[in-house]
Amino acid sequence: MRLSRGVAVVGAGMTRFHHKIHANKTSREIFVEAALEAMSSVDNGMGLDELGALFVGNFSGDSFEKQTHQAALMADWLGVTPKAATRIEDACASSGVAVNMGVMAVASGAYDVVMVGGVEKMRTLSTEGVTDTLAMAADAQYEVGVGFTFPGLYAALATAHFAKYGSTWEQLAAISIKNHHNGSLNSKAHYQTEVMESAMRFGERRGMKFEDEMEFLRSSLNPVVAYPLRLFDCCPISDGAAVVILAAEDVARKYTDTPIPVRGIGQASDMMALHDRVDLTTLRATRLAADQAYKMAGVEADEINVADVHDCFTIAEVLATEDLGFFEKGQGGKAVEEGLTALDGDKPVNPDGGLKAKGHPVGATGAAMAYEMFLQLRGEAGERQVDDVEYGLAHNVGASGGTVVVQIYGRT
């Protein structure tokens, strides 16, 4: 697959992802906040009337807010009706897919400029309500019907990976520690605290003292959610929105001297239920979506300088870094322990804190990855900036891998 017309990101914005600060807002206010920030970020300015269409990722406004039809609502509240507005729902990959849809819409020539974003307001429900809602993205009959929760599916993938490759929970804990560190450098992240800071704070309240992060992570203050995954292996429940603005390469220079070109995109599906997959230690759709994106971009996995991968659970980062071809199969956990995926490592992964620390307002996550790549490729990521980025990759997974979408960004 080749794009018949080049497409670049010319602006990006996002709200902080958080469980409290958006408490008195609905998704429309959260989305508009991110959208207006994206508009303001366009170097040479852009008017709302220049947007050709709007693509909005939203997983389950239905369940969280009793509000469907979110794209038209966002167009309405942003003041851009009657422009075409389309909601995309592919579980946790909703706005990652929206990015690809936006890219193809511009590449096709249908529009010169589109806005792509995502929004989720999750904190309207209790943890139990969120657990039920997230489980709707798995096979309701054959997985949820026998008791699987969404964390449970990834926990099962972890046991299969541990058994086949000898990877360990300690390696997963190292991912959590790394991503919390990165989150501490990101003012938009849900959690901006090192794991050790949490250990001290939680410990103080309970009269417990911890020598190091691992002692805390092994303690009762880090309870099991779904064995072997504990609380600090799971992304938090967050509200938030993220938005990017895509423009055709032939008009992008009007808006900025440093547009960030989309070099490659890919998307694949897989069997919904884990039990219908051939291999439980890999997400096939990641490999296939990445292959498409690498081919289109004309780059290899080892040329990627920075990546945002879908770490809804720590084990998911192991699977992702292997399936994207960054590390040999079975070596993803070891790579983290060796520091290869740290900000100053050979292959920095999730510089923004990942879903783990940045947060995962489900429908906003793919767009938030595009936001991070925009900053990283322009050298505007501040304290978490990775050095000498030529290529950045975003990897967004729907539920347990039924949908995977990948984008590769370059520099002009």
């Binding site: 943890t127 309500g129 008791g147 699987f148 099962a156 099991v224 779904a226 064995y227 039990h275």
Partner: protein
Amino acid sequence: MTQFTVQAYKDFLQEGKLMGSRCKSCGTIYVPPRPVCPECHSRKLDWLEMSGDGTLEAYTVIAVPLSILAEEAPYAVGVVRLVEGPNVSGMILDIKEGAALTVGAHVKAEFKKGEGKAALCFRVT
């Protein structure tokens, strides 16, 4: 209308039968049953009853449960490789701790019935 429906599969579970469908063209077996073979795209499949014997491919013990299973937590679920070949998901009975399970453990199907609902369960043997 296909006979390989969710409802038909569940009705068999109520009778204590674990049923799948086998592709007449390439022989691949699917549990639960499917009407179209993803391997060869044939639409000619037959019912096939499974023995219920298998081994654990992957598992978890869920501490933060679905609301409908709040009373049962912690409870175990897993992906089971049946001796006939296909995998299927089910609850693993009477397991409260992850350390009690291992990938490769032998399990046998049991059927939890009642209230018009039937669920596939397994027990470690």
